[in-house]
Structures are given as C-alpha cells and as structure tokens.
C-alpha cells in the first residue's frame, strides 16, 4: 500500500489557490468587500525631480467634489518616514522634493475617481535645483546615499600589471520595473481604541506594521497587518508598500473611516522603486588560457534619492561579482549613487544579477581577445570543487556542482554542434545572424543581514482533526503556502486537504522577516516543521500513555497513528488528546545555522549554501534593424531535492522569462527633466507569450541535493533562475560578434533592444575599420 500522504513533500501538486485563481474567487486586497463608509485615497505627487517647495496650495483639492480629507506632513502625529533602514524616506516631502513622482500630500474622497481627480488639483510652486539623473552624474558630484565600499583580495593591481594580456571595458545595465500585475494597495480599517487593521499587499507585513505604528505614533501592538496574497511582488513589495499603508492609515485616523489607497498603474510606476541600474567598469589581466589573474571592478549603482535597501543590494552585487569563477586577485569598488530619481529597491536577484553581468562581460571580452569559445574561458575560471574554492569574501564553497551541470547541459543542448552550425549559417546569411551562449549561475542563499534569517510558524489542530497553518512568510504567487503545507502534511502524515493555509498576519506570527532573498520556503518550511514536530511529539507522548505503550512504538502513517499493533485515526487521536487536555496548538521557530560574516572585512559566511544552474540561449538578430528573437533555450537548474517540482519548474521558467525581458526589451526611460516616460504597459514592455522561445527545454537537476540540512534538502528557487537569462545577452553578443568575424568583442549594454543592438553593430564596424586601417598602416610600404 502506498504510504505517502496526499500532497506530501515532493508531490507536484497545484498551487493551493489554483482553483480560486482561475475562477475569480481568489481575493486580493482590492477585492475584499468594502465596509460601509469606506473612503478612497490618492496621492498628490511632485512634478519636479529636484526642487525646493516654495508653496503648496491645496485649497482646490479640499474643495473638489467628494473630498472628505486632505493631509500633508503636518497631519502626521508620529514620524514622517517609512524608510526601512535609514530614516530618509518621508511619507510626504516637506521643504525639498527629490524626485518626479514623490509624494507631497494625500486626499480621501468618496470614490476612487473623485480622489484621483482631486489629487491633481494641488497648486505647487517649486524652486528648481540641479538634478542628477544618472549614476554617472552622481559620481561626478560624489553624491551618494551610503558610504563607498571596497572589497579586495590578493593584489589585483600587481596581478593585472604583470599579466600576459590586459583588457578594460564598461557595461551599462538598465533597471527594471517589477511590474507585478496587482499594483500597490492598502485598505485600513480603524478599530476600537485607536487600533487599526491594515490589509496590505506586502512581502513584509511586519515592516508595514512598524511603519504605520511610527506614523500614527502608536505602539506596534495596536496595528495588525494582514495579507492573504499578492498579485506578484518580485521584491517590489518588500519595502515600498509602507508608503501606501501609512497614507491610508493617516487618512483613516483623521476621518475615523476605513480608507483604501490603490495606486493606478502610472502612479505605481512613477512613485515606487525599481531594480538598480548599474554602470560597471572593469580591468582584467589574464593568461593565454583565458584564466583571470587579476580583476578590478568599479560598480556604480543608481540608488535614487534615498538609501532604502540599496546598501544590501549593492553588497550583494559585490558578493556576486564572481558568479562561478575563482578570482584570486580582485578589487571591487562599489559606489551607491544618489540621484534625483525614484529610490531603487529590491527586485528578484537583489543586486546579484548586476554583479554577475559584470564578470560575464569580462569573460566574453577575454574569449574574443583570445579567439576562444567563451564557454572554454568560463570553464577555465570555474571554482574548483576542492581547491580554488574560496570566494573573494573568504567563504569556502562546499557544494559546487557547476561542472556537472554545465557538462550535462552542454551535451543535452548539443552546444558545440549547434555553435558550428550557426556559424555556417552566418557565413551564408548577410542580414540575419545567429548567436549562441552558455552561461552559468551560482547564487548565494541567505539574507546578508544575518539577523533577518529567522522565521516563525503557528499551527493549530482543531478537535475535528482539521489543521490551521500560519507562518511569517507571504504568498506572492511563488507557491510558498503550498510548499509549507506540504511540509506539515509530511511531518504529521496527514493529507494536505485537511490543512487550511491562512493569511499572513502580524497578530499570529510576530516579527517575521520579509519574504525575500529566496528564503521563504527554507525558513518558513523549517519553522513549520518545528511546530509540526512539537505537536507530533505531544500527540506521540499522549498516544503512548493512552495505549500504555512505549513512545517508540508510535508511528504516524497516512492519516493514521499506529501504536504497537493498534491503529487509531488522526481524528480520533486528536479528539482523545483534547479530552485529555493536551494542547493542540504549537509555534515553531527557525534560525539559519552557521552563517555570519563581518561586513567591515568582507569576510565570513554570508550564505548558508549556493544554488546553481546554467542555460544555453540561441538567438537571431537582424543586422539592418537590430531586431532580435530568442530561438531556443535549454536550462538545467539545481533546486536540491524539490519540495514541489511543478512549482519549482514554474519558478525556473518564469524567472528566466522575467530576466530575458529585463535584458532584451524592458527599458525604463526618463526624459531630461527626470520624468519617467515608461510608466504603463503601453510604453514599458514586458515579455508576452510569443517572446518565449519556440524550443524551451527546462530540466530540474535530478541529482540535486542540498549539502546543508535545509528543509528536506531542498534549495531555494525564487531568485536564481532569473540570472539564467544572462545567456540571452551573451547569445546576442555572439551574433553581433559575427558581423566582425568574431575578432572583436561587441560593446552591448542592457537591455539589448533593437536600437542597442543596431548601434552595437555599427560601433563594432567602426572599430573594425580602425583596426584594419591601423594594421594596414603598420605594414611598411
């Protein structure tokens, strides 16, 4: 007989809300039935990038139809700040505005339409100040949100200077809007005695709780934040929902009525932060095999007007500037540039992708310089398994599987034969050129701020044998709730159908970290396991006592408990335990072991373990227009022992496509006044179905197993697959390189839009002409 429970660990079951998603029955924050008297809010924003506020006249706003309340910074009883780390994010700007779209005031009205119309009626006088809109401009002015950091190992200057070959380069890496389909929304319901219930679409209910408490000048105990699900987060709802929750709460406190604030798409995109764009410069010295002897990176991340999470994001860029490569002599200088643009924030990968793109560009340049297959140069630089295995931050890698993954993928994707075939194609095709690239991924798992690596769970068993599960993680579509429920089902040997997964709620599990850093199932799974084991231990002890047997004879198997030769159903045992006054509620707690590092010396163990993967992309580009198409993608990705292969597959495919959008078509464009002009899907283009390659072969690495004691030896899967898409950028570089006989390395910034590609082709042609002319001139007449 099959002893497995339904929906246990490893089962590819559908998302717990799948049936609700498809029928419209899944409630998002804006779908919660409104309480009578609910008001709707809108934010009035700055129309200047950098200016002193000379006067703010809101007479017309207050007089507009339907308006019930108007608030500015003066109406904040507590702190005018929602900054997650540094107190530099005002809820409402006061004397100074620092970006186009910054919140100045808010209005509550009877309808959404009335609120939005009124919010446009503010009469604001500005005195313009000089605005720095790019990282380069900020760098020139030495304008930073946080101190500059430098990580050095070995002697990179000397290693570069004495290397047989040297190259220098620069790449611009664009930002990216999270473009969660559900925009920012908060619904605040005042309750008795000054307390508030806040429904917020947030990855971090605990932080929203504190932000609202601070703004209202109330203790945290008076604020409850709840979130059943988000319509996507991707990091965009890690620190940013606080503004919307605070504004709604302030208006609710003032009007004593429920207030909902839902930003429309344009406001959402103009007000909230995005992925950091980077300008990365590098200098590298290497040997004839392409092995890097020394490398020097300068990373300039555009942080926007405030610190937000930029410290950790830029740290992660530094920590991922190695990707899979051993860098013996390395220097990484990291500038956290302050600009008069929206404060950039978390986005899947959290700086890691930007760091990795830098080293991958270095590798490609080396390969072109030596006329080698970039894959050979990659392999020559891979971390070893037992030697050359200490990262530039002095963590020894003990779980390196990149060699095996790349070898497997190289074969299954038929990399070498296809590379030859497409070069033959290119020789005959004057306008359309093809390119191919295999790029690897190694991504470190854990919050680099060590204290955040903790999680809690609350588990109730009711007398009918049904189970309520709650934990500090949030559901944004990644299937966290499903996976954690699978862990509980497995631990208690009960079918998943009896488990009700409930909304994230600060009054059920306190002080939870953001659901971020890919850590959701690792940490909440472990916390849930602890709670389930606690309950199981109590039930085991009770069953042993009740049946007069030793505890070792008690076994939980598929909704039944065996005690010696007796069998009792889970329901019966629970009922018996209740009558015997056994507590049927437990909490679980988890903190990630081993980790910890010293940021001052950039050394230690910031990551519990690493995730690995690799992708081969093949593209076609049009050399007349720069248009490109992704033709085929092969992926092999390591998720350890999967908790749910169907969900993990969804993360891999979805992460790849999101990364491909970032690197090939999603372009954020500000005008010269600092106004974002790509603030809706009509102008900001994320991939659609036809952008997915017709051949998309994705495999989970079957021998994957976490070397550490993670939850059932699984691995995190949220962020790492995004970086598989770096292969698309490099396939395009390969195609461009073909236009100059593969002799020169293309300069290609991301995103590789048609324009970027065509300009890169032309630059390459110009460079080639110069090289040819120089070669001719060098020949004596």
């Amino acid at each position: 007989m099959d002893q497995r429970v339904n929906g246990g660990v490893g089962a590819p079951i559908p998302h717990d809300s799948g049936h609700l998603h498809v029928s419209g029955g899944a409630l998002y924050t804006d779908d919660i039935p409104e309480i009578r008297g609910t008001l709707h809010a809108a934010i009035g924003v700055s129309e200047r990038a950098h200016a002193r506020l000379k006067s703010v006249d809101l007479t017309k706003v207050a007089a507009a139809p339907g308006v019930v309340a108007v608030i500015t910074a003066k109406d904040i009883p507590g702190k005018n700040d929602y900054g997650p780390v540094v107190a530099d994010d005002p809820i409402f700007a006061t004397a100074l505005v620092q970006y186009h779209g910054q919140s100045l005031f808010a209005v509550a009205a009877k309808t959404v339409e009335e609120a939005r119309r009124a919010a446009r009626l503010g009469v604001i006088e500005y005195e313009d100040l000089k605005a720095n809109l790019t990282a380069e401009a900020a760098l020139k002015d030495q304008s930073f949100v946080l101190p500059t950091e430098r990580l050095v190992r070995g002697n990179p200057r000397a290693a570069i200077a004495t290397a047989p070959h040297r190259l220098a380069g620069k790449i611009r890496i664009g930002g990216q809007d999270q473009f969660y389909l559900e925009g920012m929304v908060a619904y605040v319901v005042p309750r008795e005695d000054g307390t508030m219930l806040v429904y917020s679409s947030t990855q971090h209910p605990g932080e929203v709780q504190h932000q609202v408490a601070h703004a209202l000048d109330r203790p945290a105990k008076d604020i409850v934040v709840e979130c059943r699900r988000m319509g996507g987060g991707f990091g965009g709802k890690e620190s940013q929902p606080g503004l919307f929750a605070c504004v709604a709460a302030l208006l609710a406190q003032k009007t004593r009525r429920p207030v909902k604030l839902r930003a429309d798409r344009d406001d959402d995109m103009m007000i909230t932060g995005k992925r950091h764009d980077f300008v990365t410069e590098y200098e590298v010295g290497f040997d004839d095999d392409g092995r890097i002897l020394g490398v020097d990176f300068v990373l300039a991340g555009r942080c926007g007007y405030s610190a937000d999470l930029s410290g950790s994001i830029n740290d992660r860029a530094m920590l991922h500037s190695d990707n899979c490569y051993y860098l013996e002599n390395v220097s990484i200088l990291s500038f956290r540039c302050k600009t008069n643009t929206v404060s950039n924030t978390a986005f899947r990968g959290f700086g890691g992708p930007q760091g990795m793109i830098g080293i991958e560009a270095v590798i490609d340049d080396i390969a072109r310089h030596l006329d080698k297959d970039p894959l050979d140069v990659r392999k020559a630089n891979f971390y070893g398994v037992t030697e050359r295995n200490v990262t530039h931050y002095r963590q020894t890698i003990v779980d390196n599987v990149i060699h095996d993954i790349v070898a497997d993928l190289e074969k299954s994707a038929d990399y070498h034969a296809r590379r030859e075939a497409l070069r033959a194609f290119n020789a005959k095709s004057p306008f359309v050129k093809r390119g191919i690239a295999l790029t690897p991924v190694k991504f470190g798992i854990s919050f680099t701020a060590t204290h955040l690596n903790q999680a809690g769970c609350l588990l109730h068993v009711y007398t009918d044998g049904s189970i309520m599960l709650n934990h500090g993680g949030t559901e944004m579509g990644q299937g966290l709730f499903t996976k954690v429920a699978q862990v509980v089902a497995e631990e208690l040997s009960v079918d998943i159908g009896r488990i009700r997964i409930t909304a994230s709620d600060t009054s059920k599990v306190p002080n939870a970290s953001a659901t971020a850093a890919s850590s959701g199932s690792d940490m909440n799974g472990k916390a849930a396991q602890a709670a389930a084991r606690e309950l199981k231990a109590r039930l085991t002890a009770f069953a042993a006592a009740h049946f007069g047997m030793a505890p070792e004879t008690v076994a939980f198997r598929k909704n039944q408990i065996h005690v010696g030769d007796q069998t009792v159903s889970f329901n019966e045992l629970v009922k018996l335990a209740y009558f015997a006054r056994v507590s049927l509620s437990a909490t679980g707690f988890y903190k990630t072991p081993k980790i910890g590092y010293d940021r001052k010396t950039w050394s230690g163990m910031p990551f519990y373990y690493f995730c690995y993967g690799a992708a081969v992309s093949e593209v076609a580009i049009d050399t007349l227009t720069g248009e490109n198409r992704l033709l085929r993608v092969d992926i092999l990705h390591d998720v350890g022992k999967s908790l749910n292969p169907a969900i993990d597959m969804g993360q891999i495919e979805g992460g790849f496509v999101q990364g491909m959008g970032w690197l090939t078509m999603e372009e954020l464009w500000w005008n010269d006044k600092g106004k974002l002009m790509t603030h809706a899907p009509s102008t900001y283009k994320i991939p659609v179905a036809s952008d997915v390659p017709p051949q998309f072969n994705v495999r989970i690495y079957e021998s994957g197993i976490n070397a550490e004691d993670s939850i059932f030896r699984s691995k995190a899967v949220g962020e790492p697959p995004l970086m598989l898409a770096i292969s698309t950028l490099h396939a395009i570089r390969d195609a461009i390189a073909s236009t100059a006989g593969y002799a020169l390395s293309p300069k290609l910034d991301a995103p590789a839009t048609a324009e970027a590609i065509l300009m890169s082709i032309n630059e390459l042609a110009t460079r080639r002409a110069k090289v040819t002319a120089a070669a001719k001139a060098a020949v004596p007449a």
């Binding site: 998302h15 809300s17 389909l181 095709s429 306008f431 359309v432 579509g477 009509s682 994320i686 048609a754």
Partner: protein, 512 residues
Amino acid sequence: MAAIRRKTTATNGTVRFVLDGEVVAVDHVDPTRTVLNFLREDLGRTGTKEGCAEGDCGACTVVLGELDGAAVRFRAVNACIQFVPTLDGKELITVESLEHANGALHPVQQAMVDCHGSQCGFCTPGFVMSLFALYKSASRPSRTDINDAIAGNLCRCTGYRPIVEAAGRMYEYGNGTRKADENWMNCSFSSLTDRQPSRSERDMIERLRSIQRRDMLALTTGNRLYFAPARVAELADIRVAHPEARIVAGGTDVGLWVTKQHRDLDKVIYVGNVAELKQIALTDTHIEIGAAASLTDAFAALVGDYPEFDELFRRFASPPIRNAGTLGGNIANGSPIGDSMPALIVLGTTLVLQKGPRTRELPLDEFYVAYQKTALEPGEFVLRIRVPKPDAAAHVRSYKISKRFDQDISAVCGGYRIAIEDGVVRSARVAYGGVSAIPKRAPACERALVDQPWNEDTVRAAMAALDRDYTPLTDMRASAAYRKLVTKNLLYRFWVETTGQYTATRVLESFA
C-alpha cells in the same frame, strides 16, 4: 450609481445585456462608466481585475457574445476601456460566469489548474477569458494561434509556457461530456460545428434575439448624453446636431481619456450599432471597409488580398484591442503612430466622409493635417475606407519596428509600394509613421526612386533622400539617430526582398 434590474421590457434609456443567462437592465448609467468598474464596484464581481486601465495588460479581459446571423460570435475585449452602454444587445461573460453552479470548473479553468498556469493568479482571470474566446472560436489552434490569442495578456510569473500548454489541452476536458443538454459554455467551437446546438445554446441565442433593438439607443444621465444610432442616416443627423460630441467606436483610445486623463465626455455618439458601418465589401477594384468594422475583420479582408501585411496586422495591438477597435477609429484618431497608416497610404487608400446627406472622397494622405488633427469638418464622420486591390506589377510591404514584437506601439513603421517595369521604377510610394507629427509620405525619397533602375545605387540614393523627408525625434520608443538609421535600412530591406535575393531578412522567419 447605476440602477440595476433583472429583466425588463425594451425602453429607451435602458441598457440591456445578458449576464449569466439572465437579461440585465441598467438605468441611469454614466455613459462613460467602464464595464470593469461596473462589474467590480456595482455588481461586486471582483474576479475581473484592473492591471493597467489602458487595455495593455489583459487582466480585465471579458468575453462578449454577439449575434452574427444565426450564430453567436465570441470575442475577448478589455473591460477597463469598454463603456457600459456598448454592452447593449450583447452577452457579457466574465470569469465568474464560467464556473458551473455545482462548483465544477470550466474546461479552460481546469486545464489552467492542471497545467500550473497560475502563480500569483492576478492575471489569470484575463487569460482564462482570452482562452475561453479561443475555445469558442477555434478548434485546433496552433502555437502561433495561441500566442496571438493571448498576445494581449501579460503574465509576470509563469513565463507563459504552462498557459500555452493549457490552451492546447483545454479541448480534452470537453470530450466525453458532450451531451445534448450540455451547457453551451462548455461546448467548444469544434463541438458546435460538429453537431446540433444544444437546448442551452438555442436558449442563449433566443435571449440575445430578445434584446436586439431596431431603433437608436439614447441615454441621458445628468448632463451627459449618449447616442447609439442603428442606421447611417440616424448617425448623420445626430452628428450634425452634435458636432462637438465625441464619436466612439471601439473606445480603445477614447477609453483612456476617461481612465487615464480623467476627462469628462459629456456627449458620446457610439457607432458600433450601425450595421451598415461594419460591412466589408469586395468590388472589382476595391476593398470597401465600413468605418466601424473591427480591426480583426478589416485586417482579415485586407490580408486576403495583401498577404504581405499578415505579419503587420498580427502584430497590431492585441486580439481584445483588434476586436473592439475599428479601422475607421484608427484612421480618424489621427495618431502619428497608427500602424496601419503607412501601408494604407502607399496603397492609395481613400476615405469616404459624410456630413448630413453629403459625402465626399479624400485620399488618406491628405486626411492628416497636423499632430492629431484631421481634415474632418465639424459634423462630418468617416463612412468608409476604400483600399485599391493589388496590382500585379507592384510590390508592397510594411515593416514595423518596436521594442516588443507583439502588442507594442511602433518606433518606426514603414510602408512601401513600388511598380517596376523592365527593371525601372515606374511609380513609388513610401510612407512612414513614427518619424514625424503625422504618418506621411516621403516625397524626396519617392523622387529618388521614380524612373530609376531598381538597383542598389538607386536604393542607396533614396535612403539618403529620406533625410530630407523626415526629422524624427527622440522619445521613449527610440532615439532620433536610430529612427533615422532604421528608416533607411527598412527601405533597403524592401529592396532586398523585392529583387529576388532569397535570403533571410527577418528574424521572425527564423521561428519557422
């Protein structure tokens, strides 16, 4: 707020449509109230989502059923920019309509669950509805058909692969359960063509017949007027009486004035009920397209004669936009980046304009006067678009450059028509959108082509001449430098493609 009743007799001033098998009557509705807000706020049907309020993300997709002769035609539209009165006489199907009363999921929904087609789930109702429209209108969709059907739906989580898979598998769920008493919702397109309609289908058609109107629908709500004439003569009279009224056809542009710019439209004339205006006729010399024919129908007719434009039209907006939007609207709105304009201009398209009883004909390239300004007189409207039939001696092409292939606005869109005789260019028409305030022809370029041999020297000279025709700008879609360059290179591509050099010139072909 609008007053909603169930069942009513036909009265003017009342909008009637079918929802979940019942006739719904709505009185006193604001004529510019969107179907999305009506569903979510007035009916509490929150399954339909707002993702962008501009018809670009598809989270709000609903399906409309409309009588088409003896059958019903189902098409996906964006509820966020559709006005409630335009539902009059139609069946509105939302994601909540699909689930059976006993809780059983619709085949489309079940396929989506089984294929893991949802993650965050916010876009899912829109995908379900786009797939439902496909389920009801195609039997064995190819991967391209599926991609096209969901080109207007954005998903940020899944990477689309499982959704495409669900679209392929949804037909399997209908098999074996198909009975005469089957609910019409569950019957796929193929099953309808294979068999007699079920009782449920006949009832559905009967209900729709019961709410058709022969007369004009006129609504007065507060100070707002809404007219939906049923005949051209009525339209002509109303237009003269209210020259300041905004004509709405698909609402795919005007809808945004309301949702994005918060503009008040106090007088609206909806032309979607004028049957004559939706007709498409093929004469010996022309394709005659009624101004209110949907883009879907108009493009199908044009591609019939001009297969060269298949790619352009497939990449034009998305199915929900093409289903709602009209060719007349695309022309009359005067946008500098209307993607059909360069092609239509080079074909020598003319417009028949009507004012009161008077009609006149105007070449399309004389229709645009300045940025978003046309030659329409007050009280005048576009009646018909006349596209000449192909000339065997002429080559035509249109190329669109955009950041994304599907459903994007072009950075540059070029149209070309050239007639060659004995290797010499006898006539040339070249037009571009996206490089000046209006879509317009390139006279210097055309002069450089006419009477010249159709060779590389000529095309290079004509490419250089384009600098005299256009001074493009830099914006979020492309830089001026790129526009200048690609405008020329597209002409070069046209030359390559029309000189019998069998070589790949488009990356899209690499797909095949």
